[in-house]
């Protein structure tokens, strides 16, 4: 299992806990993540402005991975969506592929469609597999309950995501949470969008969307909301204080990334998983996992 590690824009600057914990989990499960220094933005931010620009930028990143002969592993669901979608479209549309390749020519790059794009969570689920991970669990989290947040671009549009999970009844993240020994908090707003992509244009609308889920998870008293995308984190962790103000209610919903949760169950020290960088957290929960010095 060897992948080109696509960090995107947000993770390596603002979500180092996600990166740290993913690298830790990858190492302990034998997934080799190769850093390609020329990877940059995935192209998603340009899709609303000029779809072809966005595809060309996605194809540039894919071409870099092809040159190394490596499939791509993403942490951000928007990056994963953007790259998979470009891969899907360009593989099936020769005219579009030629047009994009024409634009990549000055960079000495060519896109052929020879590599796959997989979200880190999908690699855990499909490549490593539940059984193999289960055998490595050293500290089952059986006393705790976590709410999965799938986000949207992780598994939709289904056509580009290659049927990774059911769009109406997704299971992958829930099964991965159960694997750690924790219970899954089933909640009515589970499939809700975080609202992240409207934050820049209408903050109150984005906050209203995120508030629905935070309010419900708070009411049901889970131990936290489990994320797999930094965009969703911007809403549920970054905006949580503002949402509390808007609702005039304390929420304090701990937000963590799935690899952090899995890392704890695999026996990692919380520091190695970047828990110090989580802004809304349950300190007593994390303390239980700290290694004695």
């Amino acid at each position: 299992m060897k992948y080109a590690f696509f960090l995107g824009c947000t993770v390596p600057v603002r979500n180092l806990n996600y990166e740290l914990s993913s690298r830790w989990v990858a190492r302990s499960l034998g997934i080799e993540l190769v850093d390609l220094e020329d990877f940059q933005c995935c192209g998603f931010p340009l899709k609303s402005l000029d779809y072809k620009d966005s595809l060309t930028i996605a194809a540039r990143n894919l071409a870099l991975a092809e040159r190394e002969g490596l499939s791509v592993c993403t942490l951000c669901s928007a990056c994963g969506g953007s790259l998979s979608e470009a891969n899907h479209l360009l593989r099936h549309d020769k005219a579009l592929r030629d047009e994009v390749n024409q634009r990549l020519l000055p960079l000495g790059l060519n896109y052929d469609g020879r590599v796959e794009v997989k979200h880190f969570i999908r690699i855990l689920y499909e490549d490593v597999g539940l059984e193999a991970i289960k055998n490595l669990i050293r500290r089952p989290l059986s006393e705790f309950t976590f709410a999965p947040h799938y986000g949207c671009h992780y598994f939709k549009p289904a056509e580009a995501a290659g049927g990774l999970d059911s769009v109406e009844d997704p299971r992958t993240l829930s099964e991965l949470i159960e694997l750690t020994g924790a219970r899954v908090l089933h909640h009515e707003t589970m499939l809700n969008c975080c609202g992240g992509s409207v934050l820049g244009i209408k903050e109150d609308l984005a906050n209203t969307l995120a508030a629905q889920k935070l309010g419900e998870v708070n009411r049901l008293k889970g131990n936290g909301l489990v994320l797999i995308c930094p965009f969703c984190n911007v809403m549920f962790e970054g905006q949580q204080k503002k949402i509390e103000k808007k609702l005039d209610q304390k929420l304090k919903v701990p937000v963590l990334y799935y690899p952090q949760l899995l890392g704890l169950a695999l026996g990692a020290d919380p520091d190695a998983l970047g828990f110090k960088l989580n802004r809304v957290k349950d300190k007593d929960f994390i303390k239980q996992f700290a290694k004695e010095e």
Binding site: P12, Q40, L49, I57, C152, L209
Partner: protein, 160 residues
């Protein structure tokens, strides 16, 4: 809403939408309204109404559609797209409409910021010494920020 003056509508608008990447299936809509029924944005903000936007496209109300700020309020959650029995791919239609609005200069101010950032630094967030020092402290590899390749792509190619 004002009375609709069909003489001011352009019936070819739907064909132009259908020629856009992502807009190909717009004419398949049979108005069942499942897109609107399940849209999380419409529940909060009824002005944003996918079924109505589709009818407006099919009637040819080009400017009325493209100049609305609510086009930019879709959160791109793909719920409408995955529920549609006709595979209209409405989330992709929204992207197509936004592209058309940008080309006509009808997009809200500030929408071009992403393109500028990518041409300046290849990334949405700046990566400088501060960021890389923090990464090094945590044992993470340095990352680089290169404007050249995106400048080449975006200056040469825009906008086909």
């Amino acid at each position: 809403m004002n009375r609709l003056d069909l003489k001011k509508c352009d019936p070819r608008f739907k064909d132009r939408v259908a020629r856009e990447l992502g807009g190909e299936h717009i004419k398949k809509c049979f108005s069942c309204g499942v897109c609107s029924a399940r849209c999380p944005i419409e529940k909060i903000e009824p002005d944003y109404n996918p079924r109505r936007i589709i009818r407006m496209i099919l009637l040819g109300m080009e400017e009325e559609v493209l100049k609305q700020e609510y086009l930019w309020h879709c959160s791109t959650c793909y719920t409408c797209q995955e529920s549609c029995p006709q595979q209209v791919n409405f989330t992709e239609v929204i992207f197509a409409l936004r592209n058309m609005a940008v080309r006509k200069g009808l997009a809200p101010a500030g929408m071009g910021a992403a393109q500028k950032l990518l041409m300046q630094q290849g990334r949405m967030y700046e990566v400088g010494d501060f960021e890389n020092e923090k990464r090094t402290e945590l044992g993470l590899p340095k990352i680089k920020s290169d404007a050249e390749s995106y400048k080449t792509i975006l200056e040469d190619g825009s906008s086909s």
